[in-house]
Symmetry: C2
Subunit: 120 residues, 2 copies
């Protein structure tokens, strides 16, 4: 088995609101870097996209997950709120549950895969 298969989870709420690995990872990177732009750079995505994701994240929950500040010596920054951390934790918990309890089925599936030796 070359590399372990990755389980990707996405939650579709009412309307078009959804939460998946993209927003979760972004949230996590913002927490680490304290800045949207730094997170975007680190994740190799455009600042605008990251900003848009934060925007939708904040608007889909009652309490904002990320608070931003503009100006100042550091230019500004972004901080993940308690609510944001909680949301992130819940999402990670779901992923973890899936990884742990689904290892068996996942192994079954992997065993049936054709061995494409990642050609070229």
């Amino acid at each position: 088995m070359p590399d372990a298969p990755r389980l990707r989870l996405r939650i579709h709420f009412a309307g078009d609101a959804m939460l998946g690995p993209g927003k979760a990872d972004l949230l996590e990177t913002i927490r680490e870097t304290g800045s949207i732009s730094a997170a975007a750079r680190q994740m190799g995505m455009s600042y605008k996209r990251a900003w848009q994701l934060v925007e939708t994240l904040n608007s889909m929950f009652r309490v904002p997950l990320v608070v931003r500040t503009r100006g100042g010596a550091a230019g500004g920054g972004a901080v993940v709120t308690e609510e944001g951390l909680a949301v992130l934790a819940d999402f990670r918990a779901l992923e973890l549950v899936l990884m742990e309890r689904g290892a068996g089925a996942l192994a079954n599936l992997s065993a049936r895969l054709a061995d494409n030796a990642t050609p070229k």
Copy 2:
């Protein structure tokens, strides 16, 4: 709570091979209808797309998941193999595990959502 959030799961294997709700549902509908085109119609997707999905499904596993026959009185048809049923079962098992064991975290997340009363 308007409608229950849907958990969507996708498995990314090595290379670009991946398995998600799309292929799983298609597999299931083919099993029910015995035909790719009927499944496509029933799922509201073009025949070509359904055919392409079946093609990639068959090529990403060692044993084909769907066998097809052309011509004949009925025009032809498609049958999901034992292997296909097994793959489908494993995927559904993963989904089920997620729904059951993740209900708690999912409820937490839902509770934090902004109540967008599905406007318009």
